[in-house]
Subunit: 332 residues, 2 copies
Amino acid sequence: MTAPSRVLALSGGVGGARLAWGLASVLPADKLTVAVNVGDDFEHLGLPICPDLDTVVYTLAGVVNREQGWGRADETWGTLEELRALGAESWFLLGDRDIAVHLLRRQLLSAGCSLSQATQTIAQQLGVATRVVPVTDAPLRTRVHTAGDGVLGFQDYFVRRRCAPALKSLEFEGASAAQPSPGVLEALADPALSGIIVCPSNPYLSVAPMLAVSGLRAALRAARVPVIAVSPIVGGQAIKGPTAKIMRELGVEPSAAVIAELYSDFVDCVIVDECDAAQVAGDPRFAVAHTVMRDDDGRSALARACLQCLEQLRTDGRRSSARQITSGITCG
Amino acid sequence: MTAPSRVLALSGGVGGARLAWGLASVLPADKLTVAVNVGDDFEHLGLPICPDLDTVVYTLAGVVNREQGWGRADETWGTLEELRALGAESWFLLGDRDIAVHLLRRQLLSAGCSLSQATQTIAQQLGVATRVVPVTDAPLRTRVHTAGDGVLGFQDYFVRRRCAPALKSLEFEGASAAQPSPGVLEALADPALSGIIVCPSNPYLSVAPMLAVSGLRAALRAARVPVIAVSPIVGGQAIKGPTAKIMRELGVEPSAAVIAELYSDFVDCVIVDECDAAQVAGDPRFAVAHTVMRDDDGRSALARACLQCLEQLRTDGRRSSARQITSGITCG
């Protein structure tokens, strides 16, 4: 296998971050751009919080809490304890080390840096060589329309209410005015780009807000390189998070086939886990790999499987024929 | 001795906070208002930091670090450690519990609360019954004109440079537009007010910015109740902080007499430490007490001495005769 010259990965939080780590472990640092969802971002107690960006950066830096997949290892909770004692809002788990990152980000943004620039500084300070960029520098905020609780801010739905309200549809506030960030545009325009990977992230909460960024979905559709996705659904369940629950609320049975449909207009191949091999046998829209990343080796192995899949698609000249021109199921 | 009906104390940080604690220990909660310097306040990493207000509130709440006199007992430093690791500004010592207070204050101020209201909420949450108010709700910022380092923000001078630059003069930015806070005005207008105490705080860095608030010095001068000050200079030295150093830089020999001169237009009596009794013997501008507050008993004892002094001044009818009508030495 020839190492691909440049890869663009689209990632949400935990699952995406793990594959991003795998890709970073098998690709030279300058051959990978990880574009990250910002729909979850919010300001809390005056701190600019970017959960997915921080999860990706912490994971790549090796300072993430590996058990939970987000937040810092060796975290302390002095501020949160005191916020509780003060009767202040404490539903969002702000660790002390995490707060330092938010404070630095606030300072950088206040000094006029874009979110891309702030992210780059934070990543560099944490020793991350891979290029991690927000999918857009513009404010894009996911709002969750629920069956019984009205319209909720993302973190209100996701953290405060632990995804309990039934999801009816999603709204990506600011998306139509949001342009892809310079790092995304640069990767897409790079003649050396050899493939695009949609990480195994929640298609509704993590990938859809990225696809909602003005022109991005069309750019993926028009890309001259193969685009693949790794299904976050394994054996009818999500490895982590509410993907399967949300699918059921939207009236679809959780399966890799749903992922393929959601991304049908721009994805050439969806990689499903070995346990779902029988489901997709003979279907050219799918490839099979071990997608459950239990450890570092598992992450690197899945990354290699993704690169092999991209290479195979290039070799087969599959790009134009495999893409469907229907626009795929959109959220809500 | 009859307990005075209401006392207004003007306080800076550590020394003032200790006398405020003493006053709170001997007066009913509703008989004491502590007005606190805000000239040291600044925004740092986006956090609204009010060092003197927090020192007074922490001291009254019994959660202060007693050895250093400021900051929290049982403090942790996760955020600061991480700020250092990130290469962010870490010269200002932000403890994790302390940060929680700044985050709550930011939220309250962003929600439209005045600094008085935010301070009241924080004090209440920490169990402080005494009324602690900023001397003004307006932005008032002390700027330090130095001999060789130009004009410095207060914390840049005080913390970052540890008061090393020679002080030439002080500027209280925003003071002329700053009105006394509602709590100060209410205390001054209270018919039950029986005395005003200037705590043993740095006369230049802590008391002068309070006196610079529009109309406040004139109100102290015009007050119909006795006004006393406790000298922060003991045996030619300051108990804590750079008061003596600054006096020398301004060309005066550190002594209680300088304090009396600085406050001569509105103070009826300066309480000096017993070790300086000989210096002030026979001078009606002074009274003697044990002013070094080594423990809780020392704080309460000094508070009682202050109340006795106020009572004596009332009994003697000394208020009008003792005040001098010259305006006193002003800073710089």
